[in-house]
Structure formats: structure tokens, C-alpha cells
Amino acid sequence: MGINLIWGKWLVDRGGMVFSVDLMLALIIITVVLGVSADAMDMIGSKMDDSSHEASLERIARASADMLTKTPGSPEDWDGAGDLSGVTPGLLDTDAPLKSKSNILSMSKINCLKENYDELMVDRVIPRYCKSTMVIYPEDSSLEPITVKDIPENYNSSGIIVENRTVLCNYHNTSILVFINARDSLWEQKQLGEKCPHSGVEEDKEHSGVDYKNQRSGWACYTFKVTPVLLNSTDLYIMTDPVCVGDSTAFWIIDRPENMTEEHHTFQNKPILVNNLVEEIAANETIAILWFHVHSSGNQNKSFNTYLAGFPKGTDPENIKFQYLNPQPCYFILKIWT
């Protein structure tokens, strides 16, 4: 009876609580908190591990693509210099006018990079343990992609990092000698071209300026310089935009002030090669200033732009289009893997 009493003392509630609902709730909270934090730490740990490996390669790829497409390299004319030892490559064209702040890549720098890829890229832009390929795909599928570097073997890697940039590229190394922007002049007061030597010779043969605002027919006359070097290295073409000229009184003349002519030619709904004509007119002089005269009716609905442009000698006639005179949009794709 005494022992029972002693046991009873333990079991009988005397006001204090050792184990209560409170404790249970607290234990639940502890468990939840510990579980969540353990899980979070595990996640963070694995994420950090992953991203440090990936980020280094991804960061390298992103930085390389940015450096190549957004900087002109250092020194800026590194494609001309023979010695490439201190050069940091970059493909931006420094000759491009400032107004177009977009990324125009220079073909000569691309070609120089193609020839000296390993020397310029490995250990300077991309670490030695990485392999890379670089291809420039023009958006126009009729043009061929430029392969700066391609490794023909199979990629057998767990992760290939691809960096894709949209850039502009002067694909064909063309030069525009004369650009008559008739369509943009429809609303401007400025007269197209200059006063050509035909003015003042005879009253009715004067080349009065075309006036699109008042729908009056006339001429747009521009100068251009030819040298034997230019004629030997480029094919000169006359092109119109649109290709088919609807204006029935549209024709053109090329002549010199020393040898003026009224012999006009019509537009032929396709690019016209004028090397022979220009050679004949320039007559073997070291430098000759020629005039390109274009006559149009002044009808705003039939207005057309005219280009006199030079393509590198021997360009396929299929590739002679006025769209190629301007830089073409291309995709610059750089692939890096270990």
C-alpha cells in the first residue's frame, strides 16, 4: 500500500506538465523546419555545383560571342597587320558609318579569322581544353553560310553550349558608286543630284531636275570616279529598285563633260553590266570623273531608286541583286564544348 502510494504520486497530476500538446506542436514545427532546411541545402549545393561548371563554360561562350560580335578587336585594324601576336580578335567593321549602330561585321576580318583561327582563338578567347565551331548563316537561304571553323568529327560531349547572335554582314564586298534615292525624295524639297555639264549647252538639251513633288519629268545627275584599278577589280552594274521599272520615259546616260552625249539607254528589268561602256568613255585615263544621268517622268506612283554599284570581278550574275548592296542579316553561331 505504501509503494502504491509512491507510484501513485508519479501518476497523479499535481499541477505541472512535462509532456503536453505544446511539446507535440513544437516537435512538429522542429521536424518541418529541419526537413525544409535540409532539403534546401541539398538543392543549393547541387545547383551551385552544376552552375559553376556550366556557368564557366556558358560564361566563356557568351563572353566570346559578345566579344567577337560587339567589338572591333584590338588593334582595330588587326586584319591588315601581318603580325597577329598581340591581337585580340573582334569582327565589327570600323568603317561602317556611325548612324547605323547595329553590328556590321567586316568580311575581311572574318576571312582573316578563318585563316588564323587557332592562333587567334585558342588561349586568347577560348581556353585550351575547349573545342569550338563557328559558322555564320545568312538569313537569306539562297546565300551560302560562311564556315569560319568546323570540326567534322562527331560531337561526343555531354553538353554543347551554343551562342546565337543576329548580326549584319557585308556579304559581297560591294561598293555603291551612285545611289539615286528617288523614292525618299518624294516629300523632300532637295533636288536630286547636281547640275550636270549638259546645262547651258543648248536650251532644249538642258537636264532640268526631276520634280516628284510637282510631278514634273526631268533628270537626276550624279558624278562618280573611275580608275583602271576599279575597272579591273569590279564589275559595275546599274540596278533599279523595283527591278521592273514601270516608267516608260525612264532612261539613262553615262558620259563625261569632255565628251557629252545624248545617247540614252533604257532600263532592262535586270541588272545591266556597264564595264565596257565605262571603259570606252574613260578612255584609259588614270582618273576620270564621269556623270550618270537618269531621266524619269516624275510620276510618284512609278518612282524607282537607281544604283550604280560595283561587285567583285567575276561575281555570278545570279548574285547581282540590289539587296546585296546593303549588309545582310546573318546568324552568328558559336558552339563550345569540352
Binding site: A26, E258, I289
Partner: protein, 329 residues
């Protein structure tokens, strides 16, 4: 612990503390992620704004040159320090342009450091510093650009003739040329130059255009001087180390020490051919407007065109004749 107290109360309090700490840490991590993204966006925006300011500074610069030149032409008063005045006006306009950015939370400042000649007499160079700030990010850019006097959607006019001749009489504008009337002749007479009457009703170009007949000896390429005639009709300007540069023309200087440009001031065509040995001030603008001592030397008459009724001529001295490939006398 009293009879009615809880043992666990202190423990539960101690447990709630880590919960709060964890909450704070998570909120901070999420906040940091957001900050990183925000700063990337900010950085991109700052770059775009700085490019925008750079491109617009060229446009505004050309407008400043046009407006200052028009101001001088209309008033006839030269600027006292064209480089400083253009810099100040340019700075004012750039400040006005940059004042719209604070509405977006960005602080943009474009400080024009210097306006001066460039290596090309047909351009004006300016150096500036652009600072763009947003939040904690700051971007500073030092740049130097050339503003073309010839390439643009509007022409820039030559201020020199107005400064020299406006006080001497009425000058008018005919087509794209300045018609002096008697003002040029009176100006030359006031300086005591011989044979000033040759420049009665002379004309000279109004807007600055670059001559395409480069190299300049092509002007005399043919016997009937067709290139020279065309150059004169169009009113082209030529590079010349004796000629005045654009900034000095705004100050009313006919000659300056910088590499500048020159053009021809053409006497009125005459009905009869005077004897070929007539001499008059040489028809280059830096000769006629050179009022520093004996700067106005004379040149021999050269006939470049006859249209059946009138003889078109100008006067050139031997050094100009050899520069433009014309026959030397």
C-alpha cells in the same frame, strides 16, 4: 516554474527564432535574385541610352552649325569666338535633350568638351563626355566625332560673304548663289584694291558642297574647260591651305592658319571680250576677302565659256592656275 507554468514555452520561443531566421534568409535570397536581374536590365538600358545620346549628339551638332551660320548671315555680324559660342550653344541644346531622361529615373549628362577643326576641312570635330547613371550603375563615355558640313539632309551656308559685304550694300540670293550687286565692288573699293569694278554684280556659292573633280588638276582637263565650267556652275568648294576654315569663316576671317576651303567668286559675264591682259583681284574667296595687308593679289583673265551672247570669265593667278590644271600665263 510555478504550478500552472509551461516547461515548453521557453523552448517553443527558441524554436520560433530559427523559423524567423530562415524566413529572412529566403526573402533575402529571392530579393538578391531580383536585384541581379534588375541590374542586368538597368545595365542594358544604360547602354542603349548612351548610344541614343551619342547618335543624337551628331544630329543636334549639325543643327547648331546650321543655325549659327544662319544667324551670322542674317545679321551680318561675325561671332567673336566661334569655337566657344558653338560649344556653348551645343551644350545648351544637349542639356535640353538630356533633361527628359530623369523622368525615367536616369540621370544623363552630356558635356561638350571641345569644338574644333578636324583633319577634313569639310567637317567640324567635337569631343564630348557622356555620363549615364541609374541607381548604382554608372556609365561614362569619352567620344570624339566629326560633323559633316556637306553630307546631310539640309545644306549649311557659307557665312563669310555676308560678314564682309553686308555693310556695303544689298546682297540678294538667286537660286543657290549669292548675288553681290554692288556690295562686293564697294567693299573692294573701300580697301583700295585696283580694278574693283570687275566685281560689279559678281556671284558666289551659298551652300557648302565638296568638289568631285578631285584631283583638282582635272578642272583644266580639256581645252574648252568643261570641268571648270561645271564646277563653277555648281558652286563647289575645294580644299585649300590658304583658304579659311568654316569656324574661322563664322568669325569673319577670310584667311586663317588652319587647313580650310576655298571657292570661286565669279564676276558678272560681259557682253564683249576685253583685251586679254586685263587684270583684277584673283577670283578665289580667300584672296578677295583677305584684308590683312597685301593679301588681295591680282590674276589674269581666263575665259571659260561663251554661250553666243555673253562671255563668262574669271581672274586667276598662276598659283591657282597650276593648282587647277589651267593654262599658266
Amino acid at each position: 516554474m510555478d504550478n500552472k507554468g509551461y516547461v515548453m514555452s521557453i523552448f517553443s520561443f527558441l524554436l520560433i527564432l530559427p523559423v524567423f531566421i530562415l524566413l529572412i534568409v529566403m526573402v533575402d535570397v529571392v530579393g538578391q535574385e531580383n536585384e541581379i536581374q534588375q541590374s542586368t536590365l538597368n545595365s542594358h538600358e544604360i547602354l542603349v541610352v548612351s548610344q541614343d545620346v551619342e547618335v543624337n549628339s551628331l544630329i543636334i551638332g549639325r543643327e547648331v552649325l546650321r543655325d549659327e551660320s544662319l544667324k551670322v548671315i542674317n545679321s551680318g555680324h561675325p561671332l567673336s569666338n566661334s569655337r566657344k559660342e558653338i560649344k556653348d550653344e551645343f551644350q545648351q541644346r544637349m542639356d535640353l535633350f538630356c533633361s527628359r531622361y530623369p523622368a525615367n529615373g536616369m540621370e544623363v549628362k552630356c558635356e561638350i568638351l571641345r569644338v574644333d577643326n578636324s583633319y577634313d576641312p569639310f567637317s567640324v570635330e567635337f569631343k564630348s563626355k557622356i555620363t549615364v547613371e541609374k541607381g548604382a550603375l554608372k556609365h561614362k563615355l569619352n567620344m570624339s566625332h566629326n560633323i559633316s558640313l556637306t553630307n546631310g539632309s539640309y545644306p549649311i551656308y557659307d557665312p563669310l560673304p555676308s560678314v564682309k559685304c553686308k555693310t556695303h550694300g544689298n546682297m540678294t540670293i538667286g537660286g543657290d548663289r549669292i548675288v553681290y550687286g554692288s556690295s562686293l565692288a564697294k567693299y573692294l573699293e573701300s580697301r583700295g584694291v585696283k580694278n574693283f569694278k570687275a566685281y560689279e554684280n559678281a556671284t558666289s556659292p551659298l551652300s557648302i558642297k565638296k568638289c568631285p573633280y578631285d584631283p583638282y588638276i582635272l578642272h583644266g582637263n580639256s581645252k574648252d574647260l568643261v570641268n571648270l565650267k561645271n564646277c563653277i556652275e555648281n558652286g563647289f568648294y575645294h580644299e585649300s591651305s590658304d583658304g579659311s576654315c568654316f569656324l574661322c569663316r563664322l568669325e569673319g576671317k577670310g584667311v586663317c592658319s588652319h587647313y580650310g576651303m576655298e571657292t570661286f567668286i565669279i564676276p558678272a559675264p560681259s557682253l564683249s571680250l576685253s583685251n586679254n591682259s586685263s587684270k583684277a583681284p584673283s577670283s578665289s574667296d580667300h584672296v578677295i576677302f583677305n584684308d590683312t595687308g597685301d593679301g588681295t593679289y591680282s590674276g589674269q583673265e581666263i575665259l571659260y565659256f561663251f554661250d553666243g551672247k555673253e562671255y563668262f570669265k574669271l581672274y586667276l593667278d598662276n598659283s591657282h592656275r597650276s593648282k587647277y590644271g589651267l593654262p599658266v600665263c
